[in-house]
Structures are given as structure tokens and as C-alpha cells.
């Protein structure tokens, strides 16, 4: 079976759960304690598609209020982006459009996924209110704590990066 490597970069504000999502996806683990990422953590997980093995090399980079503060070298060679925000903190999704515009300037034509994390902390009504206030439609509402939709975002991005539907 053919094997390829794809670099995935998780971006977003600090404290939104990028490291937790990566840990949940790669190691199926979760910790409530928040430990800030200083620069970059890199992990690898193999995703198997029907005729292709994809080595996802996941760059979990330190969160910043604005993505322009992230060293540009972190984005080099990226094949896909997961933009993570915290559903409980409006400041983390206020600038999604500007951040995505900036990233798309650096990395034109690469797929990205929006993930609203910490779904487990909101009630149904709160969630409905939050979704209605998002500046862009969000496909995935995730919880690194419960694992909800975590596998799905990486699977979807892998398909998009390899142009495969299954």
C-alpha cells in the first residue's frame, strides 16, 4: 500500500484545547489540567484509507490571540489546517475570518477545518446561542474531554488533503 506524509497544523487562540485534541486523537487520553504550549509539539499518527496509508504529522503550535504572531516557519510545508476555538470563550472565535485570511495568504489552496471545542461545557441552549453568534459556519463541535467528533475532524481533513471521499 502506498504511504505518504502530510503535515497538519493546529492553530487557534491559547487555551482552546489544541494540545488536548491532539492527545485525544493520538493517545486517546485527556487531562483537565491546562499546560500552555510554548512553541511546537509534534506527534504522528497513521491514518489508513482504503488504498493509502497517510502519516499525519501533527504540529500542535502555541496559541496566540492573533495568528500573525505565530512564527511563519511553523506553517512551512503544511498540507492542512485545523483552526480550533473554544465555544465557551467568544474572544477565541471573534477573529476567525481574519486569521483564516492570513493563513490562506501564507498557504493558498490547502484545506482547513473549523473545530469548536469544549462542547461538553455548554448546555443545549448555550450551544445554540453560541453557534448563532459564530462569524463563520462551523462543521465540527468537538470535545477533547469526551472524544466527540475528534476522530472525525482528522479523518475529514485527511480525505480533503488526499482528495479522497472514502
Amino acid at each position: 500500500m502506498q504511504s505518504i506524509s502530510k503535515k497538519v497544523v493546529l492553530v487557534g487562540n491559547f487555551g482552546v484545547g489544541k494540545t488536548s485534541l491532539t492527545r485525544r486523537f493520538v493517545f486517546q487520553k485527556f487531562a483537565d489540567e491546562y499546560l500552555t504550549t510554548l512553541g511546537v509539539k509534534i506527534d504522528k499518527k497513521i491514518m489508513s484509507l482504503p488504498d493509502l496509508q497517510v502519516n499525519l504529522i501533527i504540529w500542535d503550535i502555541a496559541g496566540e490571540v492573533s495568528q500573525t504572531k505565530v512564527p511563519k516557519s511553523y506553517y512551512l510545508g503544511a498540507n492542512g489546517i485545523i483552526y480550533v476555538f473554544d465555544l465557551t470563550r467568544p474572544s477565541t472565535f471573534k477573529h476567525i475570518s481574519e486569521d483564516l485570511d492570513y493563513i490562506q495568504q501564507l498557504l493558498p489552496n490547502i484545506p482547513y477545518i473549523l473545530a469548536g471545542n469544549k462542547k461538553d461545557l455548554l448546555s443545549e441552549d448555550e450551544l445554540k446561542n453560541t453557534i448563532s453568534g459564530l462569524p463563520l459556519p462551523c462543521e465540527y463541535l468537538t470535545s477533547a474531554k469526551t472524544g466527540e467528533c475528534v476522530e472525525e475532524i482528522f479523518q475529514d481533513l485527511t480525505k480533503k488533503m488526499t482528495n479522497r471521499s472514502a
Partner: protein
């Protein structure tokens, strides 16, 4: 190989004061030489560096396209263990072009500096998040309190409105008692030569329809009126109308329906002539039955008189204008009709409420045609039965529909 060694030595000299690992590899990624500061890579010489390290694996395409002009990449604060050494490293990848192209990967251990930075950043982030969440909580509390206050205000307003509604309804119910007390009783037509029924169904508590009757000597005067509107304004007009009829009969001694209507119209015109905002009035039927002469005299303002004689339905149309309203008193000419009464004659005086009632399968008006047919069908029955049939028929027709208008039908059976 000596050239690559030289290159390595050159960089070692440059970074002499720092603890660094240098790894030199060729354009195919094969490890050529390393100084082994953090890890001994001797065993990997000649193998691909891209297979050994996630970081470089994900950057292979970028490294391979480094050019002489842009020949250096810098990656600060990489939190990736190097061999068995755990720490926070700064990476530099540099392209070296001599006889051949080499790449040198310089790994600087800045863990101590970065640990301090990490503490500062952790505190900054914790404080920021804590403040933001606190601010949101406060905002939500303020919002919650505002909602609670507004809810309490609305409840209070609702309570006030309900009380006002109750007060108004109490007043109207009391007014209903007054209106009912003013309506004629059976005693007023005692000893007459005919039987009567009155089917009276106001739309609201008080009504704009009214009936009025007086017996003076051998003459019985009966009127059925439909005042403009319904409810409270209609009820006020009905009081005005009844009062005027009373005065016409007692003070003016007018015993001709035509004269009664003309007098009514004059009084109504005079009453409202100083206020051009009031255009109200009434449609009315007046009949005078003379027991001695066995006659019935009729005049109507926009209301007809129906009667059934020998099983034939007949109608006498009234004048085409109402009492009061926009028309000037001088311009109205009411007509009077006199009939000899025959045994078993049935006469009907009524407002337009019965025929205008919406209902039935198609939610339409009952219509005058059906009303006439119904009266023809029941005219021979005792008056109490006629009244009951009219009521039952109306309730069935109306079904769940709201009552459209005040309803009044007065039947006289000889």
C-alpha cells in the same frame, strides 16, 4: 567527507559557547556526520534522516527547495525530545553549498531560558482566560438580573391589566343589569290580542340591539332597533334611543310609526349636531297594533317587516336610511303601512344579526334567504317553540365561530 567535517567544525566553533547538536546530511537526507552532543547518531550514518525524525519528515519538501539566496530556516521552541534528551530546543536548518549541497541541522538547547518563558506564558494565559471567563460570568449575571427584572415588570403589568380588565368587566356587567332593567317586561304588553317571543342574544355583555314596548289604551307600540356598533358604544346609543322613544310617546303623544321615526331622527340630529365626530344612529322597526281596529301600522328605517299570512311569506321594506348618522333630518321621508290583522298572522321584527351570523361548513353568513325560509317553516308553531327553534338553529349554524353581531328577533303571533 572531509569537507563536511570541516563544515561541521566551522559551526561547532561558531556555537562554541552553547551546547548544540549538529547533524550534517546530504541532499538525499542521508546523515553524514554528527557531533553527538545529545544523542549518538553513529549508527544512523548513511541512513535517511527523514525516516528518523517527525519534524524533518514533515519538512522534507521544504528543505529540498531551499535555495542559496534563502538558505536558512529557524524554528524556535520545539518541544520535541531529541533522542533521550527532553527539553525545549531551537532548530536551525541551513543549506551549505560547496562542491556539493549539504544541509546542517543545528539543535540548540534553550530549555532553561524557555522554562522561564513557559512560566511567564502560563501565568499570562491563565490570568487572561480566568479574567475572560469571569467577565462573561458577570455579563451573564447582569443579563440574567435584567431578564428577571423585566419579567417581574411584565408580570406586574399583566397583573395590573388583568385587574383593570376585571374592573371594566365588573362595570359592564353592572351596566348589563341596568340595560336589562330598562328593557320592557311582559307586564308592559299585558292584555294584548297577540302572543310574543323575544329572542335576544347580545354579542358582548351589553348590546346595541334593543326592543321597546308600551301599551297605551288599545294601542301597543313595539320597536326593535339596531344601534351603530355593539358592546358599550352600542349600549349607550340604545339608552339614548329608548329614552327618546319614551319622550315621543309620553310627551309628544305621537301614535304614528312614521311620526315616531321622524321625531326620533330629529332628536338624534339635534343631540349630535354640535359634535361632528359622532355619526352614530340606529336602524329601527316600529309597529303600532290597534286592538280595537285590528290593525298593525308599520314604518321602518333600514329595517323591513316580515309577516306570514295563510302560509305566504311577505315583506314590507322600510325606508333606505337610518335614524341619525350622516343624513340631515330634513331630507328623510319615512313611509307608513297599515294592514288589517287576520287570525294566525305572524309578524317579525328583527336586527340584522341573525342573518349575518357566520358559520356552517363553509364559514359563511346565514343569509336573509335562509332566515326567511326558517320563519316561514316555524310561523305556525307556538311562540315559545319558535323562539327555541331560532336559538337551536343559530347555535348549530354558529358552531365554534364567534358571534358576529348582536342578535334580536321579536315575533308577534295573532
Amino acid at each position: 567527507m572531509s569537507k563536511s567535517h570541516n563544515a561541521l567544525l566551522e559551526y561547532q566553533q561558531k556555537y562554541l559557547n552553547q551546547w548544540c547538536q549538529f547533524v550534517l546530511f546530504d541532499h538525499n537526507g542521508n546523515i553524514l556526520v554528527s557531533n553527538n552532543s545529545f544523542a549518538d547518531l553513529h549508527g544512523y550514518y548513511g541512513t535517511s534522516i527523514y525516516q528518523l525524525n517527525f519534524f524533518l519528515e514533515s519538512l522534507q519538501s521544504v528543505i529540498e527547495t531551499l535555495e542559496a539566496t534563502q538558505n536558512e530556516l529557524f524554528f524556535p521552541r520545539m518541544e520535541i525530545p531529541f533522542g533521550e534528551k527532553i527539553g525545549v530546543f531551537d532548530y536551525t536548518i541551513k543549506r551549505i553549498e560547496e562542491d556539493e549541497i549539504y544541509y546542517i541541522w543545528i539543535v540548540e538547547d534553550n530549555t532553561a531560558h524557555n522554562q522561564y518563558l513557559s512560566l511567564v506564558q502560563q501565568e499570562r494565559n491563565d490570568t487572561y482566560i480566568e479574567n475572560e471567563l469571569l467577565q462573561l460570568k458577570t455579563q451573564n449575571q447582569i443579563l440574567q438580573e435584567e431578564v428577571e427584572k423585566q419579567t417581574a415588570d411584565i408580570q406586574e403589568q399583566k397583573r395590573l391589566i388583568e385587574k383593570q380588565k376585571d374592573d371594566i368587566l365588573d362595570s359592564i356587567r353592572y351596566a348589563q343589569r341596568i340595560q336589562q332593567a330598562i328593557l320592557p317586561t311582559d307586564k308592559m304588553l299585558e292584555g294584548v290580542i297577540f302572543q310574543t317571543f323575544i329572542f335576544y342574544m347580545p354579542k358582548d355583555i351589553v348590546s346595541g340591539d334593543f326592543y321597546w314596548a308600551r301599551k297605551v289604551g288599545s294601542k301597543s307600540v313595539i320597536a326593535v332597533a339596531d344601534c351603530t356598533g355593539h358592546g358599550v358604544p352600542g349600549a349607550f346609543m340604545s339608552l339614548v334611543g329608548q329614552n327618546m322613544l319614551e319622550r315621543i310617546l309620553i310627551e309628544q303623544n305621537l301614535f304614528y310609526p312614521k311620526s315616531i321615526l321622524e321625531s326620533l331622527d330629529r332628536q338624534m340630529f339635534q343631540l349630535f349636531q354640535n359634535d361632528n365626530r359622532v355619526h352614530d344612529g340606529m336602524d329601527i322597526t316600529v309597529v303600532i297594533i290597534d286592538d280595537e281596529q285590528k290593525t298593525i301600522t308599520y314604518a321602518g328605517a333600514k329595517r323591513p317587516l316580515y309577516f306570514v299570512r295563510d302560509a305566504n311569506f311577505q315583506e314590507i321594506k322600510g325606508a333606505p336610511f337610518a335614524i341619525g348618522g350622516h343624513h340631515l333630518a330634513q331630507g328623510k321621508n319615512f313611509t307608513e303601512f297599515e294592514l288589517k290583522i287576520q287570525p294566525n298572522d305572524a309578524f317579525y321584527l328583527f336586527s340584522d344579526g341573525y342573518a349575518d351570523q357566520f358559520g356552517g361548513a363553509e364559514d359563511r353568513k346565514f343569509m336573509i334567504r335562509n332566515f326567511k325560509n326558517l320563519l316561514l317553516k316555524i310561523h305556525h308553531l307556538p311562540v315559545a317553540v319558535q323562539q327555541e327553534v331560532l336559538k337551536e338553529n343559530l347555535l348549530i349554524w354558529k358552531g365554534d365561530c364567534k358571534q358576529t353581531d348582536d342578535i334580536l328577533v321579536v315575533g308577534l303571533k295573532f
